[in-house]
Symmetry: C2
Subunit: 335 residues, 2 copies
Amino acid sequence: MTHTLISPLDMHLHLRDEEMLNLVAPLSAYGFAGAIVMPNLVPPITTIEAVLAYKERIVRAIGQNHFEPLMTLFFRSDYTREFLEKAALHVKALKLYPSGITTNSEGGVASMDIELLRPVLEAMSDLGLVLCVHGETNGFVMDREKEFVSIYESLAEAFPKLKIVMEHITTQESVALLDRYENLYATVTLHHLLITLDDVAGGMLQPHLFCKPIAKRYEDREALLHVSLAAHPKVMFGSDSAPHPIHKKECCGCAAGVFTAPIALQVLTELFDKHNALASLQAFVSNNAQTIYGYKALHKEVILEKTPMKVTHAYGNVVPMFANETLAWSIQHVV
Amino acid sequence: MTHTLISPLDMHLHLRDEEMLNLVAPLSAYGFAGAIVMPNLVPPITTIEAVLAYKERIVRAIGQNHFEPLMTLFFRSDYTREFLEKAALHVKALKLYPSGITTNSEGGVASMDIELLRPVLEAMSDLGLVLCVHGETNGFVMDREKEFVSIYESLAEAFPKLKIVMEHITTQESVALLDRYENLYATVTLHHLLITLDDVAGGMLQPHLFCKPIAKRYEDREALLHVSLAAHPKVMFGSDSAPHPIHKKECCGCAAGVFTAPIALQVLTELFDKHNALASLQAFVSNNAQTIYGYKALHKEVILEKTPMKVTHAYGNVVPMFANETLAWSIQHVV
């Protein structure tokens, strides 16, 4: 049994830089046709020069793979319209982080006051630049995303023409926003379709499943699964695959992030197959994203087959999700 | 500035066995006059011979310290009244674990059906044996203790003469039970007075603060603090100090437990001092427990002084809470 995906896209990906970039970029570039690449490097990507230089390093790292990195800028409220006009030639989106909310987000916005953000968001809206948001407050860890709902509502109402992507949503409240605001969209990760807080901290503590936003409750996972399996047109796959070296995961004070890039398409196929929803997968992993971002992906055919695949214990020094486990589907070949 | 505690007691302590016992027992025995010692060894303590042999190993491990181990049996629903009559000469309490709920609890009760437990609980009630309960269901990790409330209610109603200790409570719902049922009591740990889930998983993941029950919300910590600082007469200090070797904490699949025994009295003094509640500490760490358990502790005077103490990075291969940090109070001497 095989299943073919055309031009799968990862609409939220961390490729990092230097050695780590060289390790992980080919793993994404093998199966995916493109990815929205996050700009939270150290220092963050805030200039056109930095975008172009990073893109060049990515292109070098992916080697012969047929893959298009879709670049983003790290959101700053002091960008000028002139700058954004030029940037719009090179980036698809700006990624907004509340300051300090996740890995390398220290330079993010200190306040979500709409008036402070207005000049940049109006320019983005006019220029057709997408706003990608890490939507968490600095409240109690299980409430951070829910507390951000009112901020999403304010943003959606204040900038009705701006496309706003709620990144890596994890709650039923975020899901509910999709049908209430025309200009709110969402990415959903693989791991949030699979795990709850019970998997992270309900038995032994599992640092490799620790991520931000943290995995929530069963009813939240249900809500995410529901819109993903139904190929809700405003929902896109975005892995948030976030590699950390093993010594930053199995330690005292572990970094947040789940590394899923090399196994994402296989596990998604298994999951959608299990739910008799394989027919929805193409929309979830590619078509919806192309429509939302108004962009035509590189053509690539990924043929998956229902043949077991043993996941390695580590790619270099990075432990993937499902390390040492066997998946039901594997990638047979890529055209 | 000094503060003297008379015969501090730790009403919930894990001393483990063999090398670990030899490492941790003296650390508790130095500052505490006694402790309720948990029976969840491998295999668990279920016979009088095992109780006496374990007590002997503990006494050997504590060396010259003036310290009384208060022994417990691992609850089994098939104990006979005859057995419990003999056991009552050697143990103060039975510890009930729902099967599989925490470290070494696999042999716990598979069902909390009152009728199945009735023969043993009636005998315990008649014999004045205390029932110590790990009160968690196998539900969602943040709800497990709250879901156990109805079980505590059923137990308290069905056995009105049985003293039931809700161990290491972490929620405001458990606190509220104290004033609703005459025969419900509670132990509170040091770490649950200090941390919430935010400290475990709100920033970087902190395996050394991972415990069961998992730390909850701010309002839960407030409720615990409130009754502890007020020396509520039904609340006792029980550290649940649970040593694990470092390779079982800083790893992939980390064990639950916070090791607080060697720093508990110092930190409690700091905490109660900060809240202008030093006058309550004696009741919280000793007097309440003696009244509840109907027992006279060994006499011991622990003189603490407000002199900084640097906590070591590790005791043997066990990392304590506040490792490498400096506490405001230290133990000056013990008489």
